[in-house]
Amino acid sequence: MSTLLVLPVGLALAWCLARLQWRAKALLETVVTLPLVLPPVVTGLALLKLFGGRGPIGRWLHEVFGWDVIFTWRAVVIALGVMSLPLLVWAGRTAFEEVDRAYEQTARTLGAGEWRIFFTITLPLARRGICGGTLLAFARALGEFGATIMVAGNIPGQTTTLSVAIYQYVQLGEDAHAWVLAALSAMIAFAAVLVASRYLARRQKR
């Protein structure tokens, strides 16, 4: 779910980084990339402060929507989103940059507006890179541990992710349960890679 949510945001950011020239570009690039290089626990701590009841974003969300973030499922989604965003943005950016501008410019002379060009020319031509990026982002989300445990804790049935649950079972000595979940996560990962590679292979033939 967090992968789905992060997709439009990531693509928009990737497009901005690939196609626009602006002053804050380097700054945005750095901020987006940070979660990739920082230890996940540090990212989690930053999110905890930002989205906490007294953090700037957390307070705003609470006042306007009445949403509490920390230690709810929303925290899980945000943590996974932030952690997987850089992978998607980087892959997407490279994919967009590889699309020859001549196509977009020619479409412009044919009367197509910028949105239509994005959805009919740029996005389809960058498709492969974006699929790869999405897969990486999904994989990252599946294995994410550090940031999640910081902001979402581990409330059974609400904020327990697969990775966190496996860790917990091992800690409790319930290896059998841990193995079941490990197998489950392996199956999900396997299915995702299979679907993605088949999709790419089919497109490649055309």
């Binding site: 001549a102 044919l110 009367g111 389809p124």
Partner: protein, 362 residues
Amino acid sequence: MSLDLSASFVKRFAGGPQIQAEDLRTSGPGSISVLFGASGSGKTTVLRCLAGLERPEEGNIVFGDETWFDLRAQRFLPPQKRGIGFVPQDYALFPHLSVAHNVGYGLSWINKAERQRRVKETMRWLGLDGLGNRHPAELSGGQKQRVALARALICRPRLLLLDEPLSALDGPTRLRLRGDLRHLLKQLGIPTLLVTHERTEALALGDQLVVMDGGRMVQRGPVHEVFSRPANLAVASIVAIETVQPGRVLESGEGLVKIQVGQRSLVSLNPPMATSSDVYVCIRAEDVILIKGPASRTSSRNCLSAKVNRLTSEGPVVRIDLDCGFPLAALLTKQACEELALRPGEDVTALIKAPQIHLIER
């Protein structure tokens, strides 16, 4: 009413060259204007500014009574609204779309049935029947070119801009399509502006020629005139006049100018020039006639005895480098060359008519 383009602008690149278009015009329906120059002379930039893909730093672009760009009025019409057909170099066919979808791309605003009808009609007109489901990668060079033209023409543009329309094709196809393309452009009845660096293409396709050099428009006029009567030495070298020799005016009068080149003297049909002024003499190789033995009776004012230095085959023609006191190049068909049985070292007579000797002041 005939709609024509009229543009004067300057496009600057940061730390790079400056491209200047001075009073560039098209000349009515069906006219073909050629921007000619070496690569890097700014031809493509001019075309892209006209298409709205680049924004000039100065000047204005007017089409009919519409202003496309005007710096002072802060007006810039985006490419979508200019109603042009633009065919970029290498065509930029959308690789992920079928030929039919490529051709119909510019018609998204009309309903599907009507769109399909027009796609079909345009494809038939350009001889692309039955290729609708192919992808661009499955087309030959010539087919790609026609798909790109179809895609541009289906929108019924008011001005057609072509960037090196033939350069992506292989040799034989290029020759064949050159004639087709001119015929097609003449049928369309809209002004066309095309960019090329090939002399033969400019000659075969164009009516009007604008020579560009180093970002400036250095000469313009009817194609044949510019090619045979370059205004200065730079243009003479761009249009690749084979023989350019320094000379000196001996005397002039009655429309004829007598020039000394090396030890020889030549007569040129030219407005009077000051005696003993320095000039360059330009002679196109195809204007040089060769005969064996001495000239008996001829209308040519210039008969030069010469020695054959070298023969170079250039496809259907042979270039002959001669020495007649100064180096002179002639161009003969292969057949003519065989009939004369020319060999290096042989003596011949070169005939050049006075109107075909063009003079440039030094």
